[in-house]
Symmetry: C2
């Protein structure tokens, strides 16, 4: 899925299609099947990574999901991340910071949530909110926002250096798609809980959010932790694309079953010759 990798340089999101399906030529039902077909290899690789983590290796994966409201972060969690054994997954959903979190540096709560060795960590929203909503609503001084891009790059570089692959996905939808999805939420009583009137106020700021995303993407699209822009108007493609990116990441890590650090034959003898246990 390297065609989703954001090229370095200035970013113009209006030039990135939201309804394309790069890397996949068939349609929806084939796309859903293709996602299901990833499950086995994803699970196998994830379990090997987990095994390494229990055996002293320090590698892990951090999947960062960002996108406008209704872009489908929850859908990716359910359909893509849900393919992996939950034992090896740690999801953190970042909401508006609590009072305690606000008293700390913006990366404080983020650092506490980075995946332990062997885990696939998933951030549902992330430290990027601190240069997105914070910028759009002037929650902090402009120079503070300004300083955060570099701090994010340093933080992610540290993560990578310590063995965590950082996979950053921006779920990219059109304003029309958001409108449809908000209308669906309003039309369905089982989805009212996902809606609040503030969503429309935020939506009215779409161009300002787009600009904030463009700046953030450009300035944090580093070699060690690049961005992927995932066309997300089609839910099935979005889920499949993130699944493939996750699979590419795990294949790249190529985790191996750790060798026994004990004498296997000796343990087999001990077990065979033990005193009866009742």
């Amino acid at each position: 899925m390297s065609d989703l990798r954001l090229p370095t340089g200035p970013v113009d999101l209006t030039r990135h299609a939201t309804d394309a399906t790069p890397g996949f030529t068939a349609g929806k039902s084939e796309g859903k099947q293709a996602l299901a077909d990833l499950g086995e290899e994803l699970s196998d690789l994830q379990e090997r990574l987990f095994a390494e983590g229990r055996s002293g290796f320090s590698r892990s994966v951090l999947l960062v999901l960002q996108g406008m409201d209704t872009s489908g972060k929850g859908g990716v969690l359910r359909h893509t991340v849900g393919l992996i054994d939950p034992q090896g997954v740690r999801i953190t959903s970042f909401k508006a910071p609590t009072d305690e979190e606000r008293r700390h540096h913006f990366l404080w709560r983020i650092r506490r949530a980075v995946p332990e060795p062997g885990y696939v960590g998933v951030f549902d929203r992330s430290h990027y909110e601190d240069v997105l909503v914070a910028r759009v609503h002037s929650l902090v001084e402009p120079r503070t926002v300004e300083s955060r891009y570099g701090q994010i790059n340093e933080f992610e570089a540290e993560l990578v250096e310590s063995g965590t692959v950082v996979l950053k996905c921006m779920l990219h939808i059109s304003p029309d798609t958001q409108k449809e999805r908000l209308a669906e939420r309003l039309a369905n009583p089982a989805k009212h809980w996902k809606y609040n009137p503030g969503d429309l106020d935020e939506r009215a700021l779409w161009p300002t959010y787009r600009e904030a995303y463009e700046i953030a993407l450009e300035r944090t699209n580093t070699e060690v932790a690049p961005w992927y822009v995932v066309p997300s108007d089609r839910k099935w493609y979005r889920n499949l694309a993130v699944g493939r990116l996750l699979l590419d990441t795990l294949r790249y890590l190529n985790p191996q079953w750790p060798a026994a650090d004990f004498d296997v034959a000796a343990e087999q003898r001990r077990l065979a010759e033990e005193e009866p246990v009742r």
Copy 2:
């Protein structure tokens, strides 16, 4: 699955079958299908609970998994908990306490991991280790162990009072089953990471662990947070039984889609009449 509920009074685990399938008369393939069939209702109820949590309700579920090594806590996580949208699940695996954790009260790390409103929290091992391994290996003074049963009961009663249903499952296997599973781990290089020679030393203490379990089960089998003893020699039954207990729990909670706290028609008009967003 009320037949798995541990009766109050003294506990003799040797009188609880490990290979029975109470409440299910068919065999393995039907059992696996029956578990898969729970998925839809489990998911629906879990999403309603999650919706409630986002709407100011404080209810949640805490599934506590305890059992001897190889009893299948990991299998339940993968096959049963894996049926639920991972977005609404928070798993905590408790290992030997860290130095920091050891400096605190034994419930300190536990309290930090209780599920937030709307979530299904799962403890893979739990505060019960502090009256099991702690007792078997005399890690603390006998009077300290003694005081912990009451502290656990108070803690769980608090949880229940604040809206968390505490579902405690002891995965019950026979020593012969453990022997088979340890032999399988030793025979399969992809499972060597799950084994360490200390496992056999612990196994030799089986009767002491059983006694520690019997005391813990008896003394913490409260009305508000009772124990379920799940026969776990058959993996498919164990997974199904925990799935049914979880479903029973969610049905009992009977969560409902929260009513909109905004004027739906007014929001629909606002959305229809908005300035074009580009």
